[in-house]
Symmetry: D2
Subunit: 349 residues, 4 copies
């Protein structure tokens, strides 16, 4: 009954196999090896972007912060949703890497950024010369921190607003695969064809050990990114081991397969929760995360039975037993069906 996070699960065996296979003899360091070339080519093919620049890093925070630093000036406003990982969960990494840009939260439903709210937020920034921060990049999360997704049209709507003001669009795709398989379109359609300039393409939450690819659809920005990556301590000397993971991830569509498994596990769990009659979904579970509430009493039972997940709102102590508390449940590719069954069984007991 492990639903704490998609970073607590194991690495997929084919990824480990790839690491073992990559460990043959010598290979040039810092990304000059064959495996890196192959992973780059594969990513370009998957995204139908033969010119795109690809840079691998090991953490999502690095991918996002380096991307935003490349797109923003130190005096930029960076428009993000209120619950964005860059705003809430990176200890100010974007501020650090950009040299002090200001994140401006934009409202929206279900963890998404609303295109109209974005336009209003951009218009509200600096009309007076140099006194305020200057309009800068827009960043959205796909899937969002609330487990919802943007369809390609929704991405395009955000991109259209950004383009109206000449602002670049970044996508934090820590759970890109989960969003993509739900959206039912191509990787290109959900990114550059919809107007995304730079994508943090996540792997770590979907079966890798620790690799994210930053895809810069405009390769002009790549040199700056590479300098920032090195200077940020994020350029790996034994780079082949990042590349090997990414190559295995893309091979035979493993990434899509793993995302589908995670989403299906979330779907089944969400349906089961609703079927108990005691739980209510806060948002539709569109990716691999469920936000739902049910009585404090049932949370108590679940934790006592060893279930692992986060209370997103409320605490176990300090209120009536029937009061609803919001939980976050995350499924990953390895979530076993019987874990959901055992979890749901607690509702009946």
């Amino acid at each position: 009954m492990q639903f704490a996070s998609d970073n607590t699960g194991p690495v997929h065996p084919r990824v480990l196999d790839a690491l073992v296979r990559a460990n043959e003899g010598y290979a040039p360091g810092y990304g000059a090896d064959e495996l890196t070339r192959a992973a780059t080519a594969r990513l370009r093919a998957v995204f139908e972007a033969p010119e795109a620049a690809v840079c691998l890093v090991a953490t999502g925070t690095a991918a996002n912060a380096l991307s935003l630093a490349t797109l923003a000036d130190p005096w930029s406003a960076v428009f993000c949703s209120r619950s964005a990982h860059v705003q809430e969960d990176e200890c100010g990494a974007p501020e650090f890497f950009t040299g002090g840009a200001k994140l401006v939260p934009v409202d929206g439903e279900g963890g998404r950024m609303d295109a109209g709210a974005l336009r209003a937020a951009i218009l509200a920034e600096e009309r007076r010369g140099v006194h305020g921060v200057q309009r800068g990049p827009v960043t959205i999360s796909e899937a969002t921190e609330w487990g919802t997704i943007y369809g390609p049209d929704q991405v395009a709507a955000i991109a259209a607003v950004a383009r109206d003001f000449g602002l670049p669009l970044h996508m934090d795709g820590a759970r890109f695969a989960n969003a993509l398989v739900r959206a039912g379109c191509s990787p290109a359609e959900l990114t550059w064809k919809a107007g995304v300039d730079v994508l943090s393409f996540g792997g770590t939450k979907n079966g890798l050990m620790g690799v994210e690819a930053v895809i810069l659809f405009d390769p002009q920005r790549a040199r700056e990114f590479e300098l920032r990556r090195k200077r940020g301590g994020h350029l790996f000397s034994k780079h082949r081991f990042l590349a090997a993971q990414m190559a295995a991830y893309l091979h035979d569509d493993l990434w899509l397969d793993l995302a589908r498994r995670a989403n299906r596990a979330a779907d089944r769990l969400a349906e089961g929760l609703v079927a108990t009659g005691q739980a209510e979904l806060v948002h539709p579970a569109e990716a691999n995360m469920i936000f739902a509430h049910w009585p404090r009493r049932v949370h108590r039972t679940l934790f006592a039975a060893g279930a692992q997940y986060y209370l997103w709102e409320g605490t176990l102590d300090g209120g009536p037993e029937e009061a609803p508390l919001t939980a976050r449940l995350v499924c990953d590719w390895s979530s076993p069906p019987d874990a959901a069954d055992r979890f749901l069984a607690q509702f009946g007991s």
Copy 2:
């Protein structure tokens, strides 16, 4: 004939095995797992430092820059040797992470920092209030970038100068194991007992895939380090896979064994070079690196035969065939004896 760098070689099989073993089921993220606890305990035992704080990161640049940022103020002078990795090879990472500290090169022999020169350099900084940068941390590399080492007395001599001015001492131990087995003392004797406050304890160049441990002998500094690590994008969510590498590294003294192999390979190669009568060592090869010069003509032959190493001074073209050019040769734990033999054979041909 692969002597380009100790980061081009493979990962030791026992390290890969450890990754596979670590991949069992779920584990809490961000370092709250059992493997991290075990690796920390093991490092404390190895360094006889039960109170020390241990933080794992994936690159040497991260280890060094985060360490210096924790020890320095933005307005600090950071005293380092002229050839230090932090000065020459990190694209300004220390300046970035510290918020703009100034690295002050200090002279010395063989890549080392001279204690007297350090005292002079410290005395030369800011005697006039706020006009110049302020005296800050001292950092030395063990082994140095020129393949020499500091014995415990030499470390203590540097530390004594730093202490005279109340300045902390950092050690960049990217090749700490290679230095230690040559110095023939205990890890504690080469570090905190000699006056080192913070150690970047390298693993990547000695058989790991990508793990360095920062050991803060004064755990008071750990909280700041941890915040900087997170903010720098260097806190791994699937942290167990860093810990598993480090644990395997320390288990049964694998780290010492690998370092001895690398040093022995370097020793044999150095002796062989001298024996050719055509090569001359620039510095004694005390760790796993050799700096030596021999005629341009011979370099040409070696490269033609497929040898891989860096010309440290001079270029293949543009001078007399008999002119000496300096090479850097690096051995690692996996350097096969016959590679050295084939390399040396080129001198006779």
Copy 3:
């Protein structure tokens, strides 16, 4: 009819006289002169704070940003009101000087920060270790950007919340004099006695040419402030000319006299506006600024007649003539009574 800003008015003649008198012969640079000593002593006396450290700078942005940088870590949340100058009008200076802290807007009435909202905002920040930014300093503006003030009890209420969490309190007193003469208490009562740790004590908006004093009631923080000031390019070599202004400002209570004049001018104008029956105050005019709305038609008339002020909400074009638009009117010590009369006369025409 000049009500654009209190930085468009002239310098008080006694301040200019002081500059001329200060221009006698030689004086040591960088604040080691007699005038600086005298101004410091005078500020300490005025604030009944004999131990306080005093640092002069030339702009309000420098005073605020250097203060916050001294109180915050790069990974801090800085709690400010939504309309704070540091948030809206300094082009990210606090983010720059702190090394990337995150400003967290806190709600409240009339441009003030509400103590309860502050507590909620602090509680909402980081309960999870290192993932989010860490709770840091609180900053309030006295008077606020909406022309209201905090009485000493209101300052104390904010300070009490900050103290509950061990957080320091900064006051942006760009219009401190205007607030003080309205509050009717002593400088000490409105600052350190109420719990303020660091004050940006403004002079530029109240008759000086360009001087603000940062008063650090805890002098322990002064050394860091001084280094940041120098490093920020804000330490003046001919420092006596900053000190001379500040000394003249405090001499014979000139600062209080000028603030009273400005406030009285604002009072009269506010009363006159209300009396027209066409204008409505958005907030009570407690300092030297008025926020009021009246019909677009009247704005048009006023601008045509040469009145100078900012439309704070709405634009001259694009709506019905009777629609109310909000204006900001600022009075300073030099605002002539007849300007208000002429201004008000436009309402009748």
Copy 4:
């Protein structure tokens, strides 16, 4: 006998008069006033650069650090002379404003940067991709910190090297006027015609209260400079008082007149020193500063008699009475002839 610094002297009366005259009624803030327009036009005329952008700031450190930040990337090497003010006397302001660039000292005679040494220093930086900092702007001081100057040909020689590598050239002209009147050429010839891209045009050390103009001969860079100025807290609200000083400085060539006076005072003092037979010039006194050495015994006499200047090398105590110690003597426009006479008289006593 006041020779401590050219920032300890008084402001020229015509500058004070200009401040008084500027204090008439209202003027728009932040540089939108008529005086700023006039000062800008005058500077463009003086420099025969009708397109140049002009930005006023109040300190030399601000002028230099903002200029370098505009020209450099955070990962840049900034090439400067070993004794440059930016390297030695600004508490790391360039590092702070650039976001962590690395200052690379270049050798030369008499405080100048040698063109050949510059070429070598540039060539020595980063030939290996992203591992080291990247080649960035060159900055020279005119006059130098050792009281020597670059003639236009010498500036052009430096500029030619910079241009070979596509690097911009900044000139720290804190004592530009002193250098110019000695060089005997036009302001344009000593700057943009010789290849200077951005000039910090000093006024504070030559009779102003606190104003430096940054002249960007390529106005494309101006917008970034202005944002950095605001964000750095260096944009003055009552900007007319900076402009008034600068206008007075240029009016009727006051700036050249004051520089000539300072240089003449230095010339006479230097000649007098040599004539004593006890003093020896360390460098030719080409601007308004003298570096000379004479016996410790005579220093003792001079200080006892109330002379004010800095010992640049050596200390009063701790050596033989006849040992030579180096002094720095600075003259400014107000240095009275009899001060030099009284100073020299101590040598005979």
